[in-house]
């Protein structure tokens, strides 16, 4: 009698619907990945081979654009950190009133998606910048030089990554009891630079790593800004490849998935938590 009660009780609690949603979700997510992998392995007729991969990786353009995007990612991460960490720190420490404005700014990229951003960037920096109402030239069009365009590209990336970077840093600073550490350091005689380098940054390691990995994923996968600015980034290369070939793009698509997975997995490892998201491109 008691066993029967127990059985009935636990059967009633079997989460049928939950399993249904989960399995449907898993199917939806996994099938495209599997299909891509499967397709990428069939370059050689009738045989499973890695030919698509070797062909893709041996393309010198792959290496060039991949390298370019990685370097851009590093530059973006570096500048973002230098820009955001001190700012976030300063707000928490001294200017809490600025919080609302800065948070508003970090929400702006949501309102200005990549396509609009690049439109605006080209509109302004594609033309020479003069002092208003004069014809005294301050800045030549950035888009006319490689360096200038790369700068613009980096700026665009920084803007795209800003909301996530800011949030990661903000959360990290909150968790590390920043004020107490700063005051301790000050009482021991440290100046601002020292505090930044030797107290703040080291304790933000996991938050910074999360933000950096997310930025990395965003930059390497980014297509919109880089193609409109005509820079040799990985995204546009991938798109172009897709116009001419079929197996190699599939291979690279799967490769890029693995890369994103690695980056996200590292974030999970480092932050042990909720996962990060960057939205549509």
């Amino acid at each position: 009698m008691k066993r029967a009660f127990n059985l009935r009780y636990s059967l009633r609690r079997f989460p049928f619907w939950s399993w249904l949603w989960f399995i449907l979700g898993a199917l939806y997510f996994i099938l495209p990945l599997y299909a891509t992998l499967d397709f990428s392995l069939r370059m050689k007729r009738g045989v499973i081979s890695l030919q698509a991969y070797s062909s893709a990786f041996s393309d010198p353009q792959f290496f060039q654009t991949f390298l370019f995007s990685n370097l851009m990612a590093l530059a973006t991460i570096f500048i973002s950190l230098v820009l955001i960490v001190p700012t976030c720190y300063w707000i928490r420490l001294r200017v809490p009133a600025a919080r609302r404005i800065v948070e508003f700014i970090t929400l702006m990229p949501f309102v200005i998606p990549a396509i609009i951003l690049v439109f605006g960037l080209i509109a302004i920096y594609g033309a020479p910048i003069n002092i208003p109402f004069t014809s005294i030239n301050l800045l030549a069009p950035l888009t006319e030089s490689d360096l200038g365009t790369n700068l613009l590209l980096a700026a665009g990336y920084i803007v795209l990554a800003m909301p996530y970077m800011y949030r990661a840093v903000d959360t990290g600073l909150q968790a590390m009891n920043m004020r107490a550490l700063t005051e301790a350091a000050q009482s021991l005689g440290a100046n601002w630079f020292t505090i930044m380098i030797r107290v703040i940054f080291p304790n933000l390691r996991s938050a910074l790593l999360s933000g950096a990995l997310l930025t990395f994923a965003i930059v390497v996968g980014e297509v919109t800004i880089s193609s409109f600015l005509n820079r040799p980034a990985f995204g546009p290369y991938l798109w172009l490849l897709g116009q001419h070939r079929s197996y190699e793009p599939a291979a690279l698509a799967f490769f890029s998935f693995l890369l994103t997975w690695a980056a996200m997995g590292l974030i999970q490892l480092v932050s042990g938590g909720q996962g990060q998201v960057s939205g549509a491109h």
Binding site: S18, Y34, T87, V102
Partner: protein, 296 residues
């Protein structure tokens, strides 16, 4: 030591003053140069007629051009569809691994995967879906060989509204999951137990307590999903090559080569997009604040 001492002397605690704001200059400068100025230039450009004077003419042109209005409508439709569909299913997924009673280990797996999937947008995503439900895709072939169903004959086309929607779900579901999972955590177990204790069954609990508490979160996130889809460009372009004339594609075409022969109109289109995004952001913020009031 002296530097720190004098630094604390300059900034008097009683009145933080103007000086502390100077520390924020680099950030503000960057924001102005690369966020506000570009946006402003679009804004101003849209309000400047071809002779350089302030004018609303471009907006009249906008509303008078059926192609453009159609593009907006298409974008709004696909965003709404994927927001609602993505929202509902994403919520169910999040529910299943949080309070839904599945084994605990499944949750981190879903969360990590959601993080990956939401970043997997753009060109690779398009390729993946072509390989899956394209004309020679895996699932297409499977359905044909195993079930005898030819989806393309029945009218499905990956390079269409339906196809793009299905593709967009790949980053909409995860976004919903990532935001709703913590929100569902906020549903304290005691509320459920208290409801049961007072005699409520599962349905009554969800209807009277669970869903009402979550509603601002759900709606807010759906709005986020809407904005997410609305601003998407790369996925749509990579998948349809511009065949589906959503507003982002139109703007892209305009950037590439002045197709409208009317730069101001292009700016107006962009500005229209920004307005719609801004409205959704405001809606989202308002609902966020409602959520925070209840789930401390």
């Amino acid at each position: 030591m002296t530097a720190a001492a004098s630094a604390t002397q300059i900034v008097k605690p009683r009145q933080p003053g103007f000086i502390v704001w100077l520390g924020l200059i680099p950030f503000f400068l960057f924001a102005v140069l690369f966020l506000f100025l570009p946006s402003a230039s679009l804004f101003i450009g849209s309000l400047t007629d071809n002779a350089g004077h302030f004018s609303l003419v471009h907006f009249y042109e906008l509303f008078a051009a059926p192609d453009i209005l159609n593009a907006y409508w298409l974008s709004i439709s696909i965003s709404a569809v994927t927001a609602i569909g993505g929202g509902i299913f994403g919520f169910l997924l999040a529910y299943s691994v949080t309070v839904g009673g599945l084994p605990k280990a499944l949750r981190p797996a879903l969360i990590t995967f959601s993080g990956v999937a939401s970043n997997f947008a753009g060109v690779p995503l398009a390729f993946a879906f072509v390989a899956t439900v394209g004309r020679t895709g895996l699932v297409t072939a499977l359905l044909k060989s195993v079930f005898g169903i030819n989806i393309y004959n029945s009218g499905f086309n990956l390079y269409s509204f339906a196809g793009l929607s299905v593709t967009y779900m790949y980053f909409q579901f995860p976004l919903m999951v990532l935001i709703m999972a913590p929100a569902l955590d906020g549903l304290r177990r005691e509320w459920r137990e208290a409801a049961e204790n007072l005699g409520a069954n599962s349905t009554q609990y969800w209807w009277k307590v669970g869903l009402p508490i979550l509603l601002p979160s759900i709606l807010g996130t759906m709005i986020l999903l809407f904005g997410n889809a609305f601003g998407a460009y790369a996925t749509a372009y990579a998948l349809t090559g511009g065949a589906l004339p959503i507003i982002t594609i139109q703007i892209g075409a305009e950037i590439r080569g002045d197709v409208l022969h009317n730069v101001g109109l292009g700016y107006a289109m962009a500005f229209g997009m920004v307005i719609i995004m801004a409205i959704s952001l405001i809606g989202y913020s308002m609902l966020q604040r409602m959520t925070e009031r209840w789930i401390r």
